[in-house]
């Protein structure tokens, strides 16, 4: 083929300790230039610590990483010249207005006063914040704050953008808006490293995903590969009449092979990779006169991914508490 794609982010064996706790335990990452890469894991798995090291806010205790070819320790200043960070806590100043936040960052990035003001106006407009421009950020909703946060990250177009759980705590509408923004950013060629707890978020946005658990990358691949390796989604069905469950079980197992009986006497579930087959199975039930209260066909949740990959569910892990303590 032609020349191999260049890597925007390259990490080998990154380690970070907080006291006696190893928050990041040898993380390797390779993120292609211009791609969206998801880092998926539960709270405290080491996602935030990894991103903070890559953004030069934390010094790694071991391993090394390069962002756009610059070493994150010895060439930290060069790294800072090309990246921007949207942290888990909104990285904007709550005591200023939305407009002032953007002008402040424009000035700090080297824009002249007039240019900084013009840029702020342009971003407020693009991100639907023009009506709230003169309001203090502490009075913003969660979604507005996130949008401002992302706008602040692109006052000057970054080559690499770190997004740490950009939609945690947002309602579905705000979440979709943030997703649209991320897609637009990616379409313009910005490399994005996206930390998230949600498999569907990584699935929607990222072309590559690393699953991280207890500070280690435990699986890596495209969303499709990952889901395939995890054992797919599941069809959940709840019947109107529990009496009909044996009949439903018989019909479903003909379509989908393995059927589980849930603790709820009216409910069944079956692993199901293929939406068409799932739909067919449901249709089969109603054709046979089995009354269905509700059904769903879901992707595997993060929990299921974790269960499949690690054998333990994705419980909150301990390092988050430590990170918060250190940050307090």
């Amino acid at each position: 083929m032609t020349t191999p794609p260049t890597l925007a982010i390259e990490a080998t064996g990154l380690v970070k300790d907080f006291g006696s706790t190893r928050a990041v335990d040898g993380v390797d990452l390779a993120v292609r230039s211009g791609s969206v890469y998801g880092v998926l894991g539960p709270n405290g798995a080491g996602k935030t610590t990894t991103i903070r090291m890559l953004a030069t806010l934390l010094r790694p205790d071991g391993g090394e990483a390069r962002v756009l070819g610059h070493d994150i320790v010895s060439e930290a200043d060069a790294v800072r010249g090309h990246v921007s960070l949207t942290g888990q806590l909104a990285s904007v100043d709550e005591d200023l207005t939305g407009r002032e936040n953007l002008v402040l960052l424009g000035r700090l990035l080297g824009l002249r006063r007039g240019a900084a003001k013009a840029r702020a106006a342009e971003l407020l407009d693009a991100f639907g914040l023009i009506d709230a421009a003169a309001r203090l950020v502490k009075h913003y909703s969660g979604g507005m704050r996130r949008r401002l946060d992302i706008a602040a990250s692109i006052v000057v177009t970054p080559q690499v953008m770190f997004l740490d759980e950009p939609t945690t705590g947002l309602d579905p509408r705000s979440r979709n808006q943030v997703w649209d923004i991320i897609r637009a950013l990616a379409a313009e060629g910005t490399t994005i490293l996206l930390c998230t707890q949600y498999l569907d978020e990584a699935d929607q946005l990222a072309e590559g995903i690393a699953v991280i658990d207890h500070g280690r990358v435990i699986a890596e691949g495209t969303p499709g590969q990952l889901k395939a390796s995890v054992g797919l989604g599941a069809l959940h069905v709840r019947l109107l009449d529990p009496e009909q469950r044996p009949e439903a079980e018989r019909l479903l197992s003909r379509e989908l092979d393995v059927v589980h009986l849930e603790p709820d006497p009216a409910a069944l579930s079956a692993p199901c990779a293929d939406a068409d087959r799932g739909a067919q199975a449901v249709a089969e039930l109603s054709r046979a006169g089995v009354g269905i209260a509700d059904f769903s066909l879901g992707q595997p949740s993060l929990d299921e991914v974790f269960l499949a990959l690690t054998g333990h569910p994705a419980e909150d892990q301990t390092t988050d508490a430590i990170e918060e303590e250190q940050a307090a």
Partner: protein, 283 residues
């Protein structure tokens, strides 16, 4: 049944992908700002906060105003024979005190910043590393001037007429603000070490009350027990107060001014690098 078409509530406030793309594609990276420009921008940020929450100036001026009124009218007669004489004595001291109290808020503000995510963004910017700190203190210096001006204006209203007039007063104010700039590095260090803004405030005032009261702000040290007098005489704040009094009286002593500025320089030399280091390394 309503026949109105479904409206997209707040459609105008929804970011449009095309607009986002346009906003994204248009800004090349300018050359990074100079150290001074970055620091001044952070100073501007401090000013904006005062603009949005002017009450924070009230906090730091009410106590000194109370002290002026309380000490002048309650103790003035007893300490100095007349309230007018005492006002001449106490006002430069209260000026020092009120400005120094304001410095605690530099530490409080820094600590408050750290509890928010915004510091992460500042630290991920390609700017002169200490710019946020130096800039914040430059901004705070404006607050020191405001706090000082309030006290001087109050004094003039109550009948304070310094011999050296306006130039003397301005000289004293400049000296006090310069000292405060150095002194506030102590509180920025404290602000990076303590766990909460309230803890910084409490620790700050706990330190400031004895150090300002055990000086020549309120009384002539010669009336004190010998051990205490010894402390008061070496207390740099006493020297600052004396220098301010002398400036206002038109009889500036270079020695006292030198001690005050020297102390400020030493505090800056020790605590500014310490603050910068803590700010850089704190998780």
């Amino acid at each position: 049944m309503s026949t109105a078409p479904p409206t997209r509530a707040g459609a105008s406030s929804v970011p449009e992908e095309a607009a986002v793309r346009k906003a994204l594609s248009s800004t090349p990276r300018p050359p990074r700002p100079s150290a001074l420009a970055a620091a001044l921008t952070f100073g501007w940020r401090g000013m904006l906060k005062v603009k949005h929450v002017p009450e924070q100036l009230l906090d730091v001026t009410i106590t000194p105003v109370m002290f002026v009124l309380l000490f002048t009218y309650l103790f003035g007669g007893a300490i100095a024979g007349s309230t007018g004489d005492y006002l001449d004595f106490i006002l430069p001291g209260i000026l020092v005190m009120s400005v120094l109290f304001t410095t605690v808020y530099s530490g409080v503000a820094l600590n408050t910043d750290l509890t928010k995510g915004v510091v992460d963004r500042f630290r991920s910017l390609p700017i002169w590393r200490p710019a946020p700190l130096v800039g914040a203190l430059l901004g705070d210096s404006v607050r020191y001037v405001v706090a000082g001006t309030v006290i001087i204006v109050l004094g003039v209203v109550l009948g304070f007429r310094p011999d050296a007039g306006v130039p003397g007063v301005l000289g004293a104010l400049t000296l006090v603000v310069a000292f405060a700039f150095g002194f506030s590095w102590v509180f920025t260090t404290l602000g990076l070490l303590m766990r909460s803004p309230n803890a910084v405030m409490n620790a700050g005032f706990m330190a400031l009350f004895p150090i300002t009261f055990l000086s020549n702000v309120f009384v002539d040290p010669e009336t004190l027990p010998a051990a205490l007098e010894g402390f008061v005489d070496v207390n740099p704040i006493s020297h600052l107060v004396t220098a301010s009094r002398d400036l206002m009286e038109g009889d500036p002593g270079l020695g006292e001014i030198g001690v005050a500025l020297g102390t400020a320089a030493v505090l800056t030399a020790v605590f500014a690098p310490l603050t910068a280091r803590l700010y850089r390394t704190r998780v």
